[in-house]
Every structure is written in structure tokens, then in C-alpha cells.
């Protein structure tokens, strides 16, 4: 039933061995593929043996699923955009999609924009305490841990620590906050992300609440998820026990702790931008935007940008062809079009070759718009993006500003 919480583990010993925790995600994927509930599975896999190069893969053969078991913390593939761009938004195939909270939320935002068909999707969400960009991860491991990055077989973020495990089985731990203050550690957007448990998916899976047992903590978040999970238990793919109050409490506490740290980072990141005088803000941002080389990377990476015929293209008469840096319209239109639904996924900032802190600006604006419209992007399929929708009730509100 929706809202149920379980401790669960895979009945398949190979999956259990290879997986991060209880192997539930891989087992569920195997179950839906074996029983032909879906045509394919969209998951993430390391290319070759490189832990720092994880990319989205479409799997139709259940025997290949084992390669996707285990978590990769040092890559942040763009699942929502991939789903829309290369898989036709799941309009003509049934898919099970695995993703971090930002991937799932991106998918839901695209559903609202009619770019993805939710009816054809099983969304399996993973708890996420942040990802590292591959380059920074390698630098962190070399410069702070003094280890060869190729020697790492596993990394994890737990209780505010970054933990790495070497091939010979030794574990090394460092305080994440101290690392991040020195410029190492997680991606900037991840450290201020407050959505750690993807309850907007059909099933949310994670480690918190398992007390380091070899099990996955599962929260059933929709009726579709409940049905799938019960069928998988019946078919013998997974074994479960109900999560007791202690486990639920432990999970809640860990989530709370992570959220508090996120809010602190948010303050640290936004304070300099907010405290500038207005003239300084203009000089700062236009100084940043003047470094733009108009690669369109931010637009192409953004899970929310979906126009087939983008107004920023050279033939639309707004941004002149061959002009670098582009005129003021380029950054302004880009930001104005996505700011009400920014997910803080960090893809635009990752993509930017000029290092413009785009996510920082857009997510800061999103937070301010949240204050006005109370709209949290990607959480509820039924709520509409506030700058692109109106309600009948507003007809009777006379002023030039609305209060929500």
C-alpha cells in the first residue's frame, strides 16, 4: 500500500553480492523485464570499468542488468533529458526508470510539459546524498586521500563523511564538510539539495534506516509502486520485513541531518549574491555572462528546456548568428524560461565551459519564486508551473500582485 515502508533484500545471491545494499532496485528491474511488464529499463552503468564515467543505458536483456548494480557517486547522468531526447519520452515504449531525486523530478516536470508519458513509466527513485563531478572526485582522491583514483572500488557518503574503499579492502574516511570548504567534495548543487528521498517516484529505495544491514529501505510512494512491489514479493524476487519504528526514525533523522546541512550550504552560497548592492549585482552578472561562448550547452543540458524550435536559435532573430558573447537576451531568456521550475540538478553549470555559476543563480531565483508562488518543481504531477499557468479564482482578485 502507498506509504508502506519495508526493509527488503534480493532473493538472488549474485545481485545481493554485487549491489550497494539489499539489491532491491536491480531485483525489481529484473522482475519487470522478466515478466515483460516493461519493454526496457533505463539505468546507469559505468563505461568499461571506469567508476568516473557512468552513463545512461537502455537494457532489454535481463542478464545484463547485473552490470548496473551498485551505486556510482562520481557521475551525474542526465536521465530526464535522456528519456525525452533519445527515448521519445516513453510515448511508444514501456520503461522502468531509475534515478536520483533530481532525475525523477525532471521527469515529472517533463510530464507536465507533455514531453514524457507517465503512464508508460515505472519510476524507481534512489535516495541521494549528493554526487561528485568526475574531475573533482579524482582530485579529491589524489590530493586529499593520497590514493590513485583507479584503485577505488567503492565510494560512499555517510553521516557527513566521504568514504572510499580500495581494492585491497581498506577504507578511508574524511569529513565531507571540511573537504567541501576546501573546494573538494560534492557538486555545488548537490551540497545544497534538500530533496534526498524521492517520494515523488513510485518506489523510493535507499540505505538510510537499515542500520548498515545488507538490506534496502523501501518506501512505497504510489499505488502503481505498491502493486509492482507486491507482485515482485509474490514472484519470489525479493524478501521483505516491515520497517520498525526504530528504522523509520533512523531514516528520518538522517534525512533531517542532510537537509540541515543543505540549508546551511544554501545560505553560504546565496548570501554573497544577495548581499551585493544592486549596481554590483549588475556588474557581477554581466561580467559572468560576457564569458559566454554561446555553446548552447546549458540549454541542451537543462531537463526543463523542451522547445523544439528554440527562440535562441540563430534563425529566430533574437540572438545574432556569429556574435560572441551573445547579446543580453541569451542569458536572460534562458533563465527566465526555466526559473520557475529549476530543479537544482546542476546540469547547466556542469555543462558550462566558461564556468558561469548558472545553477546558483537560477536555483536562487527558484527559491525566491517559491516564496511568492509556493510552487515546488517536480514534486506533484498535478501542480502547474506558476509562470505558465493561471486559475479561474484569479479572475476575481483585483490587484496587480497575487498572494498565495
Amino acid at each position: 500500500m502507498k506509504g508502506d515502508m519495508y526493509l527488503a533484500w534480493s532473493s538472488d545471491s549474485e545481485i545481493l553480492n554485487r549491489s550497494e545494499n539489499g539489491g532491491i532496485v536491480t531485483s525489481l528491474l529484473k522482475f519487470v523485464l522478466d515478466t515483460k511488464r516493461v519493454d526496457a529499463v533505463l539505468a546507469v552503468k559505468a563505461r568499461g570499468d571506469d567508476r568516473y564515467d557512468g552513463g545512461p543505458v537502455l537494457i532489454t536483456d535481463p542478464s545484463e542488468l547485473i552490470e548496473t548494480a551498485g551505486s556510482l557517486h562520481c557521475s551525474s547522468p542526465n536521465i530526464a533529458r535522456f528519456l525525452k531526447e533519445y527515448l521519445g519520452g516513453a510515448f511508444d515504449m514501456k520503461l522502468a526508470v531509475v534515478g536520483k531525486p533530481c532525475d525523477i523530478r525532471g521527469t515529472i516536470e517533463l510530464v507536465k510539459r507533455e514531453q514524457v508519458n507517465l503512464d508508460n513509466l515505472f519510476l524507481i527513485g534512489l535516495n541521494c546524498s549528493g554526487t561528485l563531478s568526475p574531475v573533482v572526485a579524482k582530485r579529491t582522491i589524489i590530493e586529499e586521500f593520497g590514493v590513485d583514483p583507479l584503485n577505488i572500488i567503492h565510494e560512499d557518503i555517510e553521516d557527513g563523511n566521504l568514504i572510499i574503499m580500495l581494492k585491497d579492502g581498506t577504507e578511508k574516511t574524511k569529513d565531507l564538510k571540511a573537504l567541501e570548504e576546501k573546494g573538494y567534495g560534492r557538486r555545488e548543487n548537490c551540497r545544497r539539495c534538500e530533496i534526498k528521498i524521492p517520494t515523488m517516484a513510485d518506489i523510493a529505495c535507499g540505505k538510510w534506516g537499515t542500520s548498515n544491514k545488507k538490506a534496502t529501505f523501501v518506501e512505497i510512494c504510489s499505488d502503481k509502486g505498491a502493486e509492482l512491489f507486491e507482485e515482485a514479493i509474490k514472484a519470489g524476487y525479493i524478501a521483505v520485513e516491515h520497517a520498525d519504528d526504530k528504522a523509520i526514525k533512523e531514516r528520518k533523522e538522517k534525512e533531517q541531518e542532510a537537509i540541515e546541512s543543505a540549508l546551511k550550504w544554501e545560505k553560504t552560497d546565496f548570501a554573497p549574491l544577495k548581499n551585493m548592492a544592486i549596481e554590483e549585482k549588475f556588474d557581477y552578472w554581466w561580467g559572468q555572462f560576457s564569458q559566454c561562448i554561446k555553446c548552447y550547452g546549458c540549454r541542451d543540458a537543462c531537463p526543463i528546456c523542451y522547445c523544439k524550435d528554440c527562440i535562441l536559435e540563430a534563425d529566430r532573430g533574437v540572438v545574432m548568428p556569429g556574435e560572441v558573447p551573445p547579446n543580453a537576451m541569451f542569458p536572460m531568456i534562458r533563465i527566465a524560461h526555466v526559473m520557475d521550475s529549476c530543479l537544482n540538478c546542476g546540469q547547466c553549470q556542469d555543462a558550462c565551459p566558461a564556468g558561469i555559476p548558472l545553477t546558483r543563480l537560477i536555483f536562487m531565483l527558484n527559491k525566491e519564486l517559491y516564496g511568492i508562488f509556493k510552487y515546488q518543481p517536480g514534486v506533484d504531477v498535478a501542480s502547474r508551473p506558476p509562470l505558465r499557468s493561471i486559475t479561474d479564482e484569479e479572475l476575481t482578485i483585483p490587484g496587480v500582485e497575487l498572494v498565495f
Binding site: N327, A336, F373
Partner: protein, 143 residues
């Protein structure tokens, strides 16, 4: 340009059905208001997209007035409501990138409200004169 003699460029997007008629009424009634406003007639305030507002700023507007019908009076039923949300959303954006949100104003002006049009233009021009040239213009003029 001497700061005292600053004559702002103000763009007024007026909807065809209410605000443009209101402006017309102000003219017919020979009401005095500053000549700094350049009125652009649009069919509906809902037509005034992010693109129009931001482009006007980028090419040198010191202030932008969006004027539409009162809620419930829109010829197209809900166009003005879209304009309201849009302007509410753009203000924090403008502020974040260094443009004072006061430079963008939304007003409801009905066809019968000639005096309100004149007053709005007067007070808005005053506001913009106090704020000075827009940062885009300041940068263009090498300040």
C-alpha cells in the same frame, strides 16, 4: 548627458481593448502627462512575453509599463492574468541580475480611466527619473 536633464525612455505596452483606449481618452480629454512614454499597442497584456520585456530593457528602455484590463474584464478572458504572473515572476529575476524591479510596472487601466493613465505615467516617469538611466544604458554610455 547631464544627469539633471535625464529624459527616460519608457515603453508602455497597452492592451488594445482597455489601456490603449484609456490612453486615448487621456489624450481626448487633453490631460497632461510626461512625453517620455512610448506607447506600443498590443492586442492583450497577455501578449507581452518575457521576450518583449527583457528585449526592451536590453535595447535601452529605462522603464517598462505593462497596462491591461482589470481582472475579469479581459477581452480574451484570462490574458491579463498571465501578464500578472509573468510580471510577478520577472521582478525577482530583474533584481537578481542588477535591474531594479521598480523599473517594471504592471497597472490595470480600463477604457474609461483616462485620468488613471495620465497619473500612472506621471508617477512612473517620476520613479524612473529618480532611479536614473537603466544599467544597460549606463554601461552603453560608458559610466
Amino acid at each position: 548627458m547631464n544627469e539633471n536633464k535625464f529624459e527616460p525612455k519608457i515603453v508602455g505596452f497597452c492592451c488594445n481593448w482597455c489601456s490603449y483606449a484609456g490612453a486615448d481618452l487621456a489624450g481626448v480629454g487633453r490631460l497632461q502627462y510626461p512625453p517620455d512614454i512610448r506607447v506600443v499597442r498590443v492586442m492583450c497584456s497577455g501578449r507581452v512575453s518575457d521576450l518583449l520585456i527583457l528585449n526592451a530593457f536590453a535595447i535601452g528602455a529605462d522603464g517598462i509599463l505593462v497596462a491591461g484590463c482589470h481582472p475579469g474584464d479581459c477581452h480574451y478572458l484570462k490574458g491579463n492574468l498571465a501578464a500578472r504572473r509573468r510580471v510577478m515572476g520577472l521582478k525577482p529575476f530583474l533584481e537578481a541580475i542588477g535591474i531594479r524591479p521598480e523599473r517594471l510596472r504592471l497597472e490595470w487601466i480600463a477604457a474609461s480611466e483616462g485620468p488613471k493613465f495620465a497619473e500612472t505615467v506621471m508617477s512612473f516617469t517620476q520613479t524612473i527619473k529618480e532611479l536614473g538611466p537603466s544599467p544597460f544604458n549606463r554601461r552603453r554610455n560608458g559610466h
